[in-house]
Subunit: 127 residues, 2 copies
């Protein structure tokens, strides 16, 4: 697919992907894709990424079961960021058990964590 | 503010910021901030960025008038991405005249541009 080759990957071959919940557009997570993981995301309809910290290819939900079913893919005018709308299986994207990785908000100049959890990470990640 | 110092900036001192329209959570743009632009975003209540391509500090809307009034700031579990919800003055964030920079969607495997424009860029950027 020509558009995949036209995207601007960084010096490590990566492009950031903003993952939104298709139901209300809440941002669930931001992670990195390389061309292989983007191709597999398109062909399988489930999000795949490249982990910079673990230097590892991964499918979201491969361990937790909380996969993301792709509903829409778009990219920006600079062709260097993806936005992907998904159906989030299990209702939570973050490994901490929060619905979204963005659970820390700035309130009156202070960082305040949202305490509501969708799942208990100890139960989901059992190793 | 301590939380600003705890964020993880990259080797160039930058952190990506996802800008959402507070009215419906649509992603308008993704741009980069350094600590100075983040501080000014917090203190002024209007988004400021660092342009990697122009190597220049800028306030969104400084030329077009389409400033972004900050409604909420959050960051992720890795502390390396910001999500900022804004009121978008003028109704459009992209220099092309589109509401969002993410106006190219993948439809049946092909990239398809949304043609609706909020403003004519020739009228807004007159230089």
């Amino acid at each position: 697919m020509a558009w995949m080759d036209e995207l601007k990957y960084d010096s490590q071959g990566l492009i950031p992907a903003v993952i939104q919940d298709a139901s209300d557009n809440e941002v669930l997570m931001v992670a990195w894709m390389n061309k292989d993981s983007l191709r597999d995301t398109v062909s399988s309809g489930k999000t795949h990424f490249w982990s910079r910290s673990r230097q590892k290819y991964w499918m979201k939900g491969e361990e937790s079961g909380n996969v993301q079913n792709v509903k829409d893919i778009s990219y920006d005018c600079d062709k260097d960021v993806l936005v992907i709308k998904v159906e989030q299986v299990g209702g939570a994207a973050c490994h901490t058990g929060h619905r979204s990785c963005f659970y820390t908000h700035i309130v009156d100049g202070q960082a305040k964590e949202d305490e509501s959890l969708v799942f208990d990470p100890k139960q989901v990640y059992k190793k």
